[in-house]
């Protein structure tokens, strides 16, 4: 039972990192970033490439990979998303789909689709740790939970207290009004893409160190977006409970059902949520009319 709880927490942390990416981008530009899964894969491959370039120096390759992920977000916004301003939202969403396709094609082109393990070159090991109560998780599972917790704490503080965070919330609420008050909303949107890619990249780096790295990891992204919707697409705080719910349903359906059922369980959560409360647990109801 405790083991199930621990597993749920680990899966929930992964989903929370990805879900934060969805919500950050959605709040600023009302675009659902369907390439979040590929940003995760890309983070993993950045780590793989940097670990191969600087073997045995995780203090160099880990921050560099995270930085590269964040920069990717900025580039994506400037090159692909900024020209889509003023186009229908759905066209912008489809552009993120094509972004995912292009990222995946690029990854396979550079790294081929073989399964990789960045940990080998990183010079770190991943020993199992016993938690009080008898549950066993791997070290990187713990890292995942800690990273998610730190990232969320940081995001909350940043959005509540720092001037830039407040500008970000303002631009998300009404870009035109915000820009009239002198907020550089292109910069703010680029920042939100950078944060989303950073969160996705972190998830990818930890997941690929923990399990494995291959281009098909992007399905994780599709499943995590059930989390963003269950929590409410415009609510960062909603991501946390939603991630726990979706992860718990998934873990339970592995225990009492079969792997096929657990694959589809996030989407079942999504459907149920759409039928009873489409704006999500903590989303705002007006959001339904805005898209």
């Amino acid at each position: 039972m405790l083991q199930a709880l621990a597993t749920t927490l680990v899966v929930a942390s992964l989903y929370a990192l990805l879900g934060a990416g969805y919500v950050l981008v959605y709040r600023s530009s009302r675009v659902l970033n369907l390439a979040q899964g590929d940003l995760l894969t890309l983070g993993g491959y950045f780590l793989f490439a940097l670990a191969a370039a600087f073997p045995g120096a995780p203090a160099v390759s880990l921050p560099l990979a995270a930085l590269a992920s964040a920069l990717t977000g900025v580039v994506v916004y400037l090159v692909l998303m900024r020209p889509m301003a003023g186009h229908p939202v759905f066209a912008a969403v489809l552009v993120t789909v094509t972004l995912g396709i292009l990222l995946r094609a690029g990854i396979v082109f550079v790294f081929t689709d073989r399964t990789r393990h960045p940990l080998q070159n990183l010079g770190l090991t991943n020993p199992p740790r016993a938690l009080p109560g008898g549950a066993v998780v791997s070290t990187f599972d713990l890292v995942m939970i800690l990273t998610a917790a730190t990232l969320f704490a940081g995001l909350f503080l940043f959005l509540r207290l720092s001037p830039l965070g407040i500008q970000m919330r303002a631009a998300g609420e009404h870009a035109l009004l915000a820009s009239q008050r002198g907020i550089n909303f292109h910069g703010v949107f680029a920042l939100s893409w950078a944060l989303a890619a950073f969160a996705g990249g972190l998830a990818g780096m930890i997941y690929s160190s923990n399990v494995r790295l291959e281009p098909s990891l992007d399905v994780l992204g599709l499943r995590a977006f059930a989390v963003a919707l269950v929590g409410g697409l415009d609510s960062l705080a909603g991501v946390l409970p939603a991630a726990v719910i979706v992860a718990a349903v998934e873990v339970l359906s592995i225990r009492y059902g079969n792997p096929l059922l657990s694959d589809v369980s996030p989407f079942l959560c999504l459907l149920v949520m759409l039928l009873i409360r489409p704006w999500g647990l903590f989303g705002t109801r007006e959001e339904l009319e805005r898209v």
Binding site: L94, R104, A105, F109, L274, P278, L288
Partner: protein, 353 residues
């Protein structure tokens, strides 16, 4: 159709005609003739490509009715196809392989599924609806996957070629004629739907549902009918897919297939039947064209470079159309045609209409 030239319709019949000018009649006759004699001159590889494009065109036309005409975004198109293919597979498993049985059964399943997916559309719009259809896609694939796992073997279902009495549909040429005929039927149906009461109601809902309701359109009924119509045709296309391939497996109906269909109608031009057919042709032929180009440029290229090249070219094409040509191939075609029609002038004469 507002052209630059002096072509005026003077009778009710002329206004109702689908193919209205002599040039168009000739062009259509030439096209039909070309499609009829193609098997005599083309290799079986070309015929197979044409069959694939025709099959894709059926699915694209159906999606175009839903997304292009009625404005309801669906990311679950592959799910509808899978529903059709797996209904057929389930019936074949039970020894009921006659197309007289599988086709109506598939249509029924498609209609039911369309109704189920359509009901949330009464409440949800835009992105939220797209998410619902995406979830539905995964649920359909889950049911299909369970079915596949239960049936043992775990790789898929083998489907015998469809037979009516002693008449068996098999071979490249036979399938070519069957699929082109089916695509032509769906095309005629869509073109006529577009200018009928239902088509106009769908377009009104697409442009503004509140305004549509205020002029007396039953929004709920027409939204549902768009979903049902589209999913019935798509499920039937799934059945044709199953029969033609002779094999059905969950792996063939991934999320990428749904994206491919959306790409077809985007690249072709949203809301246009001609666009759906053009887009289906382009998206189907693109990977083969890249194969040919790669083979011509560097004969020894490794397989793992060809896959990302195809994948990337598809993504790039879709992105280019989304950003630079939202009207799609049809938009380009109309611009070119108007340029020739209006030459030496650049703009259509202003008319009080």
């Amino acid at each position: 159709m507002a052209l630059g030239g002096g072509y005026f319709k003077t009778s009710h019949e002329a206004d109702l005609a689908v193919v209205d000018t002599r040039l168009r009649r000739t062009a259509l006759a030439v096209l039909v003739l070309a499609l009829l004699v193609l098997p005599r001159v083309a290799s079986s590889f070309v015929l197979d490509l044409a069959s694939q494009a025709a099959l894709a065109a059926i699915g694209a036309l159906a999606l175009n009715v839903l997304t292009g005409l009625a404005g309801q975004i669906s990311l679950g198109h592959a799910g509808f196809l899978a529903a059709g293919a797996f209904t057929t597979a389930a019936l074949v498993e039970r020894g009921l392989a006659s197309p007289l049985l599988t086709l109506p059964a598939t249509a029924l399943v498609g209609a039911l599924l369309g109704l189920i997916v359509g009901i949330p559309s009464l409440r949800l719009k835009g992105l939220y609806l797209a998410l619902g259809t995406l979830a539905m896609h995964h649920v359909v694939l889950y049911v299909a996957g369970e079915m596949q796992a239960r049936a043992g073997g775990n790789t898929g279902f083998t489907i015998p070629p469809p037979a009516l009495g002693s008449l068996v549909l098999r071979g490249t040429v036979g399938w070519y004629y069957a699929l082109v005929l089916a695509a032509a039927l769906v095309l005629v149906l869509v073109v006529n739907l577009q200018r009928s009461r239902a088509g106009r109601a769908w377009m009104a809902i697409r442009d503004r549902d509140v305004a549509a309701a205020s002029v007396g359109i039953h929004v709920a009924r027409y939204k549902l009918s768009a979903f049902v119509w589209s999913s019935v045709v798509t499920a039937l296309a799934g059945t044709l897919f199953a029969y033609q391939r002779g094999f059905v497996s969950v792996e063939a109906f991934g999320f990428f297939l749904a994206i491919e269909y959306i790409a077809m109608i985007i690249i072709g031009g949203l809301g246009s039947a001609l666009g759906a057919v053009l887009g289906a042709g382009l998206v189907t032929l693109l990977p083969y064209a890249i194969d040919a180009v790669v083979a011509a440029l560097s004969p020894g290229a490794a397989d793992y470079y060809i896959f990302p090249a195809k994948f990337g070219a598809f993504g790039l094409l879709m992105a280019l159309f989304l950003v630079f040509e939202p009207l799609g191939l049809v938009g380009i075609w109309r611009r070119v045609r108007n340029w020739f029609l209006l030459w030496p002038f650049r703009h259509r004469p202003l008319r009080a209409s």
